[in-house]
Each structure stands twice: as structure tokens, then as C-alpha cells.
């Protein structure tokens, strides 16, 4: 047994594999929870049935979750049939299944209490890295992986090396986790963390409320990461208690050892950072907002598993309270979950946004992957709080997508051109900061 220092990634995978492992080892490890959705789920079900034959058994149905979020509500006959395949399977095998009104897989997994610090979680969706914001090892897999894990409860992994992003000091007003992650991706590139864990630490990260930590983990995949982890702390525990109804006790050893072996460490000073915008058509095209401010925008899209939480939508409402969006711009808001939707309703955020001219839609992925509910036409320019802006991602191959924070999205909707949120009245942001200080709402 090795006595050397280990990363949180090595610790989690060692526990799940039942033996001491380090980066580069191949392991077969037990999975704590797994999720498939309406696009990847049917294929996983097909694999499961092909592997187990007629009377197969799902190893741990209580750990299996399905969501219907990408084509929700169904936008065509094939999507509707896919929904029914998932519904039938969940009923037959006694797994969890959420409906078209419930929201995006990653948000549902967190709200419904399937994610705890130290867990090993897979999803047949690349943004399954999101769970790292709560100190879990979450990673995206293919439908074949998922379908075989239904049957066996375990899966093979290569234990990844870790790159650490360390941010010290306070973030300036108007700068959020979204700006941080766009900067990181810009610095290391679209494939800069391929096969690796992106680990986020330092005093600025420790100060982030959980909903913002989730943004960092969510977009680890945009630099190729296998996982994106923030070490869990008291805020994590508070958040899980309030948002997920979970009672967790923190394992003090569930952090990277101080002299753990990192492949690279990038350090930042929080105060140096400006709001970031990723230009079309790659998330790595991140620039300070000055460089693109004033660019006219046809559509602003607020939502997705990256920035579709209540605090994100609230940040947009804060900017638009009592105002009207620019007459040349459309604003589409899609809450990440039914719970987010309800909170927007209860707090008046929904009313504020609809009054301001927004199109407010039911929970789900919306136009994020170009399926429906607001896809872009040929010459459309969009600013989105999403995670990807590849060619054609949100519709036409000729359309252009800029990525930014919810605050930037709100300011941009107000003026119809990319706008620095730091220029706007600040008391609204103070209000927002107080509301989220404890890691809850």
C-alpha cells in the first residue's frame, strides 16, 4: 500500500474500487447513482436488454434515474415514442423516472438527493461532471456504459490525473463562477483537461455559493475534463440539507492532500477578473467583455444545466425589474427544473420577466442543443448562459452564439447588445448576494 499523498479523485475511486489506486490505473468500481435521459436512455435500455436477454434484472433499481428533458414536451412522434420507451422500462424494472415537467437531468439528480460528497456517479450525458460541485466524482459516459451498469452495478474507469485551478481573493462585483470557468477554458483550451479531473480550490472558490460551484464543475467537460471537483465543506452540507433534504456528515479526509500530485496548477487572483464572453463557435474563445461589448444580439437565452437555476434567473430579473427588454431582442428563459420554476413563480421573478417581455417556458433543456423551444435561424446572433456554442449547436449552422453569465445576459437583453453588467445599478446585485450567501437561496 502506498503512503503517498492523494487527490480527492484518487481517494474516491480507491474507496469505490475497494483497493488503493492512483492516476493511470484501470479500475472496475461500484456506481452510487446513474442517470439517462430521453435521448441517451432508450439506447441504454436497448443495450441492457441485449446484454441480459428476456428476463434481465436491474442490479440496483433504486440507484437508476431517468429524466425526460431534452425533447420536453415531445416535439415529434419519435421523441414521444422515446419517452414511452423510458416510461415503460422504469415501470417494469422499478427504477426512478421523472416527467417532462420535472426538468434537466443534472438539476433533478441534485434536487432529488441522488448526489452526496464522495459518491461515484455516472450519467449518459457529458455534463454529468456537474455533481463535482458537491464533492462527488461525476462523469459522463455513453449509453453502452449505462446499459451495462444497469445490469452489473459497476463500470471500468481509468483513474485520471488532476489539474488544479486555484483562485485567491474576492471576485469583483459582476463577476461570477461562469466568468471564472470561461476564463479557465480560454486559458487551457477546449481539450486542455482531456481525460483529467479539473479540481477547483482557493479562497475565492470556498466563498462561492454552491449553485455557482456547480457551474465550475458543469463546464469541466468544455475543456475535455472527465470530472470537475470542488472539495466539499460546510456549505455543501447546508445546501444538501436545504435543497435536497439530505442529512450528510462530512468526511474530513474527503479533500486532496496538500502535497498531492497535480499534473498542473493554474493560479488566479480573483480581483484581476472581468466578466467573460466566449465568442462563436467554441467555448475556448473567451475574452474580457470589453472586446465584444456593443455587439447586437437577436436573442438572449437564459437556462440550461449550467445557468438555469433560480439564482441565475433571479439575476436576470434583478436587471430587468420594471424595465423592458430591447425591442430588437428576444429573451427566452427556461428554468432548469420544476422546483426552479415554482420558486420563480413564488418570488415574483417569473412575473418580472414576463412583464419585461421574456418568453418563459416550462422546465427542460430548451433550445440548448438545438432541438426546439427557441432554435436559431440562419443569421441569428444569440447570447446564452449555456455551456456550448459549437457551429449549429442552437439551430442553424450559420447562427452565432456567445456564452456569458446570467448577469451579462440580463444586461444584454436590456440593451439589445452585449453589455457589461458592471455598468448597471449595483444595489440589485447586493440584494442577490445576500440572498445566496449561505449557499442556499
Amino acid at each position: 500500500m502506498s503512503s503517498s499523498a492523494r487527490t480527492i479523485t484518487e481517494k474516491i475511486l480507491s474507496t469505490k474500487a475497494g483497493r488503493e489506486v492512483t492516476a493511470g490505473d484501470y479500475v472496475e468500481a461500484e456506481i452510487d447513482a446513474m442517470v439517462g435521459h430521453d435521448v441517451t436512455g432508450p439506447l441504454a435500455i436497448e443495450v441492457f436488454e441485449s446484454v441480459t436477454g428476456e428476463d434481465g434484472t436491474v442490479a440496483n433499481p433504486e440507484n437508476v434515474v431517468f429524466t425526460l428533458d431534452h425533447h420536453a414536451p415531445a416535439d415529434g412522434v419519435e421523441a414521444a415514442n422515446n419517452h414511452n420507451i423510458v416510461r415503460d422500462f422504469a415501470e417494469t424494472y422499478g427504477t426512478h423516472q421523472y416527467e417532462i415537467s420535472d426538468g434537466i437531468c443534472h438539476q433533478v439528480m441534485i434536487e432529488e438527493g441522488f448526489v452526496r460528497p464522495g459518491d461515484l456517479i455516472i450519467g449518459a450525458d457529458s455534463h454529468s461532471t456537474t455533481y463535482g460541485g458537491l464533492g462527488a466524482f461525476g462523469t459522463g459516459v455513453g449509453s453502452t456504459d449505462l446499459g451495462t451498469v444497469f445490469a452489473t452495478g459497476e463500470l471500468w474507469f481509468r483513474v485520471p490525473e488532476t489539474i488544479r485551478f486555484e483562485v485567491e481573493g474576492a471576485l469583483p462585483d459582476g463577476v461570477y463562477a461562469k466568468d471564472l470557468i470561461l476564463r479557465f477554458i480560454g486559458d487551457v483550451g477546449f481539450d486542455g483537461a482531456t481525460y483529467k479531473t479539473a479540481e477547483y480550490g482557493g479562497s475565492a472558490i470556498a466563498d462561492l455559493p454552491i449553485h455557482q460551484r456547480l457551474v465550475l464543475s458543469n463546464m469541466a467537460i468544455e475543456m475535455g475534463g472527465k470530472a470537475g471537483i470542488v472539495e466539499p465543506d460546510d456549505r455543501t452540507v447546508t445546501y444538501l440539507e436545504r435543497q435536497s433534504g439530505l442529512d450528510v456528515s462530512l468526511d474530513p479526509d474527503l479533500v486532496s492532500d496538500p502535497d498531492a500530485d497535480y499534473e498542473a496548477v493554474y493560479t488566479y487572483r480573483g480581483s484581476d477578473l472581468a466578466p467573460q464572453v466566449s465568442k462563436p463557435s467554441n467555448p475556448e474563445n473567451a475574452v474580457d467583455i470589453d472586446e465584444v461589448a456593443g455587439t447586437p444580439v437577436d436573442q438572449v437565452f437564459v437556462g440550461t444545466c449550467t445557468n438555469g437555476r433560480y439564482e441565475d434567473i433571479r439575476a436576470v430579473a434583478d436587471v430587468l425589474k420594471g424595465e423592458q427588454i430591447d425591442s430588437n431582442t428576444r429573451l427566452i428563459v427556461v428554468p432548469a427544473s420544476k422546483t426552479v420554476y415554482q420558486t420563480c413563480l413564488e418570488t415574483g421573478v417569473l412575473e418580472t420577466l414576463v412583464d419585461a417581455g421574456a418568453t418563459f417556458q416550462s422546465a427542460g433543456c430548451g433550445p440548448c442543443a438545438g432541438y426546439h423551444q427557441g432554435v436559431l435561424g440562419d443569421d441569428d446572433v444569440c447570447l446564452a448562459t449555456a455551456n456550448r456554442n459549437f457551429p449549429g449547436r442552437e439551430g442553424s449552422m450559420q447562427s452565432q452564439v456567445y456564452l456569458a453569465s446570467p448577469a451579462t445576459a440580463g444586461a444584454t437583453a436590456l440593451y439589445g447588445e452585449i453589455t457589461d453588467p458592471r455598468g448597471l445599478e449595483t444595489e440589485r446585485y447586493d440584494d442577490y448576494a445576500v440572498a445566496t450567501a449561505e449557499g442556499g437561496r
Binding site: T40, E46, V47, D125, G142, S143, D145, T152, F190, D191
Partner: protein
């Protein structure tokens, strides 16, 4: 589920027989391999009809069983969609040779039994060249240029997965062993 075409385990053509190289550049993401509007199907042959639909329409029209896909850096980035490697299997592609792969695409391909080879010199291969592969030795032959390029051999665990025809076959075997 009965009307779906059964999936084949490891049904890719032999890599040691020469085939045409379809050469692509860097950062070809899964949205470009299989645009999301075609994701409603999970059937390899149907997906193959839309492979590289927007990027290179000639591919799906002219690709033949036994052809190879050759690419630059970071092939298959983006979403986790297995539809992307599946569409290449459906098109009859023998193997994908790239300078580097995005993680999930690499993993999905191995799981489906589609050989994927990391070859730093892949950029030297010209579109339309006749190529073949020696998987065990980790070699890529460019028959037109008369060149041989070294590739990274797969780690043994992954080679076993590919040899068995992918993760499904591997799991079937595992289930059979544990229930004995």
C-alpha cells in the same frame, strides 16, 4: 423494442485490409459527426445516412465498408452521444485514426468495439489515400505514400474489450461467469 435492428457486437470490418481514408481536421465535435436533429434514431444504418451531414455531405453518400476515418486533434469532442461512433459503425468504417481523441468518444468507441488509434502522424495522411492498420503492433500503413506511421498501442484492458467485441460482449461474459 422488437422493431429495432439488433446491435452487432464488434461488427466492424477487418482493419488489416486496405480502405479509403476520409480525412478530417482538428476539433471535429459530435455535433458535426451526428447533428442533434438526427438523434431520434438509434439505428446504426439510419444514423450512417446522416454522418457528417452538414460538414461533408459526400461522406454518407460515398463511404464504403472497410473505409477509415482519419482526423486531427481532439476528434469527437462535445456531447456524450454514442450516436456518433454508432453512425461510423453503421457506415462500415473499420477504425478511426486521429492525432488525439476527446475522452467520451474514445470510451464510447472502445465500448462499441470500434477500434480507435492515437497516431501523432495522422496529419500526414492525404484524403482518399489507401490505408490499413496493424492493431497489435500499433502501426498505420499509408499505401499510397508508401509510409508507415507509429500509433499508441491500446492498454491491455482496452485491447481485451475491443477483442471481445466491446463492453456488451464483455458484460455478457461477466454476467454468465457470476451466475454460474
Amino acid at each position: 423494442m422488437t422493431d429495432r435492428v439488433p446491435r452487432t457486437d464488434g461488427g466492424t470490418p477487418p482493419v488489416d485490409e486496405p480502405g479509403r481514408a476520409w480525412v478530417f481536421g482538428d476539433d471535429i465535435d459530435t455535433d458535426q459527426i451526428t447533428p442533434s436533429r438526427f438523434l431520434v434514431s438509434t439505428e446504426p444504418a439510419e444514423l450512417a445516412e446522416h454522418a457528417f451531414n452538414d460538414l461533408r455531405p459526400a461522406f454518407s453518400a460515398d463511404v464504403e465498408a472497410g473505409d477509415f476515418v482519419v482526423a486531427g486533434e481532439n476528434f469527437g469532442g462535445g456531447s456524450s452521444r454514442e450516436h456518433a461512433p454508432l453512425s461510423l459503425i453503421g457506415a462500415g468504417v473499420s477504425a478511426v485514426v486521429a492525432q488525439s481523441f476527446a475522452r467520451i468518444f474514445f470510451r464510447n468507441a472502445i465500448n462499441l468495439g470500434l477500434p480507435v488509434l492515437i497516431c501523432p502522424d495522422a496529419g500526414a495522411i492525404e484524403d482518399g489515400a489507401s490505408v490499413s492498420i496493424d492493431l497489435d503492433a500499433g502501426l498505420v500503413y499509408d499505401h499510397d505514400a508508401g509510409e508507415t506511421y507509429e500509433a499508441e498501442p491500446l492498454p491491455q484492458f482496452l485491447q481485451e474489450l475491443v477483442d471481445q467485441g466491446g463492453l456488451e460482449a464483455y458484460t455478457r461474459q461477466k454476467l454468465a461467469t457470476t451466475s454460474e
